[in-house]
Symmetry: C2
Subunit: 710 residues, 2 copies
Amino acid sequence: MTMLYVVIACGLLSVLYAIWATRSVLAADQGNARMQEIASAIREGAQAYLTRQYTTIAIVGIIVFIIAWWLLGASAAIGFLVGAVLSAAAGFIGMHVSVRANVRTAQASANSLAAGLDIAFKSGAITGLLVAGLALLGVSVYFWILTGPMGHGPTDRLVIDALVALGFGASLISIFARLGGGIFTKGADVGGDLVGKVEAGIPEDDPRNPATIADNVGDNVGDCAGMAADLFETYVVTVVATMVLASIFFTGEAAITLMLFPLVIGAVCVVTSIAGTFFVKLGTNNSIMGALYKGFWATALLSLIAIALVIVFWLGMGTEFQASDQTTFTGLDLLLCGVIGLAVTGLIIVITEYYTGVDYRPVRSISQASVTGHGTNVIQGLAVSLEATALPALVIIAGIIASFLLAGLFGIAIAVTTMLALAGMVVALDAFGPVTDNAGGIAEMSNLPPEVRQTTDALDAVGNTTKAVTKGYAIGSAGLGALVLFAAYTEDLKFFAANAQPGTFFDGVSVNFSLSNPYVVVGLLFGGLLPFLFGGLSMTAVGRAGSAIVEEVRRQFREKPGIMEGREKPDYGRAVDLLTRAAIREMIVPSLLPVLSPLVVFGIIYLIAGKNEAFASLGAMLLGVIVTGLFVAISMTAGGGAWDNAKKSFEDGFVDKDGTKHLKGSEAHKASVTGDTVGDPYKDTAGPAVNPMIKITNIIALLLLAVLAH
Amino acid sequence: MTMLYVVIACGLLSVLYAIWATRSVLAADQGNARMQEIASAIREGAQAYLTRQYTTIAIVGIIVFIIAWWLLGASAAIGFLVGAVLSAAAGFIGMHVSVRANVRTAQASANSLAAGLDIAFKSGAITGLLVAGLALLGVSVYFWILTGPMGHGPTDRLVIDALVALGFGASLISIFARLGGGIFTKGADVGGDLVGKVEAGIPEDDPRNPATIADNVGDNVGDCAGMAADLFETYVVTVVATMVLASIFFTGEAAITLMLFPLVIGAVCVVTSIAGTFFVKLGTNNSIMGALYKGFWATALLSLIAIALVIVFWLGMGTEFQASDQTTFTGLDLLLCGVIGLAVTGLIIVITEYYTGVDYRPVRSISQASVTGHGTNVIQGLAVSLEATALPALVIIAGIIASFLLAGLFGIAIAVTTMLALAGMVVALDAFGPVTDNAGGIAEMSNLPPEVRQTTDALDAVGNTTKAVTKGYAIGSAGLGALVLFAAYTEDLKFFAANAQPGTFFDGVSVNFSLSNPYVVVGLLFGGLLPFLFGGLSMTAVGRAGSAIVEEVRRQFREKPGIMEGREKPDYGRAVDLLTRAAIREMIVPSLLPVLSPLVVFGIIYLIAGKNEAFASLGAMLLGVIVTGLFVAISMTAGGGAWDNAKKSFEDGFVDKDGTKHLKGSEAHKASVTGDTVGDPYKDTAGPAVNPMIKITNIIALLLLAVLAH
């Protein structure tokens, strides 16, 4: 268990890095008074929203905490609390830095691209390393407290239940934060664009648009805080599921070693991620994407070496492990599974860049389709979004087969863990986006020279692709992790059934998960409908929030005719406040859908056909939600990114296949704006929220088993 | 086996009805010379397209025929031929009548709504009853030939394989016809609307638009012939799968009786469908939907009585049957399963009407969202399309559970069979749509008085909902039938494994279909990606065909400036010809996707992990394609219908929530046209083609088993 101290030390290292980087960011020049005024408006809006969001979630959280204490005891309830609080903290601190880095990035961009990139990326890296570091610390410290001072055995049910509850805490925050933040940011974006760009004919981030501060607030609460909560959850749930699997599959010393193994992978990768951040430097070709990729590939390579060293010196390359499902594998096999995890990550990045990058066929086909109008733009965008699911799915399928052949189900778990161990770096690339987006807005609103805006725009364009990449990565890990979560469920079920006292709930339970059992098909269909219904509800929510903003902005323009002439100041606060209330209100029902569905399905099938069939339907539901959720999420995030960049392709003039050049303001450009508007809630609200939705359904099912066994 | 003669007699009755109704339609007034000229242009275009389409399919068909003969022998190859030829015949004859009924409906509408409805519906009923009748005749006559004159036992593998091959023939035609017809019709629609309505500012069906004849041709080849082939296939495959299941589950006399039972249900429902057509009469309230519903509900009620009589007098209410999976049930249980099938149909109709009808929340929310622009219209449309999947899925889930509780897997099969037994009536309601759509076009182009157009528009508006209903019905039956097809696969597999000679392929095969087998998850994911990829490819195909039309029409306008002034005649033929070539070219690759995928998946997994895992992945793939396909198809067809009717709601002026009225030509109306354009390929190309795609994947898997056993 000494390795546990190493893990905790690595976790603390990430916190130290965050403190150092925060100081370095805060030391930078804040720019002129106008810039600071705008930045403080954004900061206040973001803090007000996040405080309100977390207050609302806290009410739900307290209720769940009490229920968890009552049903599962103190250690599970406290685990839930730890997961929830740390998830919220990662989001809150990330946003805290991000709303301070934005104005400094704008000011630095006035000096050079390299300086702008440096501050923006450092800000992103703080969020990234806090996500990975706090997740690691949360799991490892709580695991240490339970097994050390409190003296429980590492494989005790109490410990397992407490860790699962910790994952549940992270999941619950995550679904609300993803969805609430997503509705806020896209409500502002859709509404602001429609009434500003389309009706009033003013550019994005024009200070005359009353929704413009809300739009910038949204970048921070949605793309930064929401995304951080999402990845925090994905990280925690994957590590916990791998530990649960290790505790069930192995016995004795091997169980403890392999329970620690995912934590150790996470720990060394936190260190390599920190190292990787220093590789992000603009080369002589001034390629921003190139600079970011240098950081990513350095991290990937260093991680590979670090994991290999861990296996050589700690696990043993040739050490044989035998799982209770009769799979045997060596340390080398696990290393190869790690390589598979890294390869899946790399391939998903490459595929996502192909589908969302300006230079490739998919985005160009959408630009071309814009030439014939709004309708064909949307048709082609939808076609790309549907098609974009195929290759990532094939990569995931290949990853499942390869890691399963090497080391069985536990091999798949290690592949996903390794994939997610890079989260620090991947989140850094993503959280960099909202900072540059904000920096551009601040430059525009405070009338900085156009070169500054050009620099921030260049940084922002890269953000579109990195955002799509992170989402593909998060949902891809869910696809690959599907089997791990399902295995945790089935193995738990077997464990409880085998250890059931006569007369207790699990006595005589024997579940048939075969596809020829109709209750399995029923579960698959029921799980399959969740991402669709959830997507529909969240798209509607964004539409409603956007319409509310349109009406508010129209009202301000009508009542204060001086706004458009620059004589009167718009009431930015009202738009922020209106969206805050709308987002909080709209996030509740869709968020509860994945929380309550597993319980409802289990309850109904239990009443109709008894417990065996209820467990079968519930289990199949977990896979059903992944089978459709994977495709829904990838299609939405990739499609949205492609639409966004198709619009961007008109900014420098798009040359169509007949050689005609279409500039900004042309009919084709207007058609591309429609696609971008549609893509907004697709890629930033509905799509990414599917990922926590999948996890929470799985976690609820695991907790249900624990409750029934209690 | 005397019942088989009754079945054949009922099948012949439908042909007699079709002959009688055709005569009655052809006897009607064809209108003036201008109308006849236009109608003949549509007729020639449709015949030219269909001839070319079937010629192309014939090439694929002949290759498959030879392969089938070589691999499976003469009776299977001939079965394939029977299925293919009859499917093509149903589409061809339906279209043949439809392109003659259009002009007569236009002329009759000049007299009265009732007269227009009468001809249009009669034309639809011809297609409908030929679909059901020819499907029934094909299966029953070939079954009779095999078991009577040729002396094979009804449950012989040779007979089963021949019936499955018959289903395959129907499927293969269906996927090509659905997709080719869908690309043609929507390419014309999208392209024609964009360049006509949006750019040139001329109304739909304006004779100055060179794409207008192509648009009307498309209604016939896509919505009539394509849809007929699709439902023919659904009917045949369901009946055949139920017969296969009966032959495996039961032995002796019970096997023969229960193999005949689905045919008998089909037979009596053909008679009740014919009876139902006479209930379609305009009431005093002039409600067209009411008249159609009268016909549908009369058929449903009569069918229920007829099936009850069949069970009382032939099967026996109290007769007990015992399946080899230990399920026992009585005749009464089967009757109740039939009731469930009818209830599922009824509920899907009600739900589809809710989601696509002008008077309900979903469509009104899209109309309202159009007020704030193109973007919000599309967002809300997508939200409705996603949400619209939930209730139908729940109905299907309930249907599966209820019929399974009554009579096991065979009960589910009987529920689907009963559902599809109404196909004659349902197709009649649908095939009525393109006739009225064409009638409106002819009225417009030949300058008939506006009242005529009003009458045909009223008929056409109803067609939007009935079209959405038919698609929901077809895909719903696929969802409910999923288990039947999967059961046919697993039971076949068990049969071959149990009867394998040592050393043959099936020797020692024992497949684990449990969800905890990673190869099952791999299969689910692989199946899940097919509807997405297929949808993406077919949307792209429509976009490309539409863009080609836009360019062609722009060219004609440019080269013949007299067209817009009405001095020159556009070259309609070129647009038809261009689309014909485009549609045929574009349909090939997506159509081959579901045909080849099962073979590729089986082959790859076989090489990696051996036969057991290959059979597991292939089986799971069959369910995966249904789990995502069901939702993709419902969301596309319902969403498209809702967008279409949201556009229609502006034609009489849409009053938004602030009381402002938006008329045709307003900005809100233009936004609604964008949604309609997007919805076109969604609802008429990609969405409906998912249904034959699902079936063909399943049939190929069954055939693969037969080939491997051979």
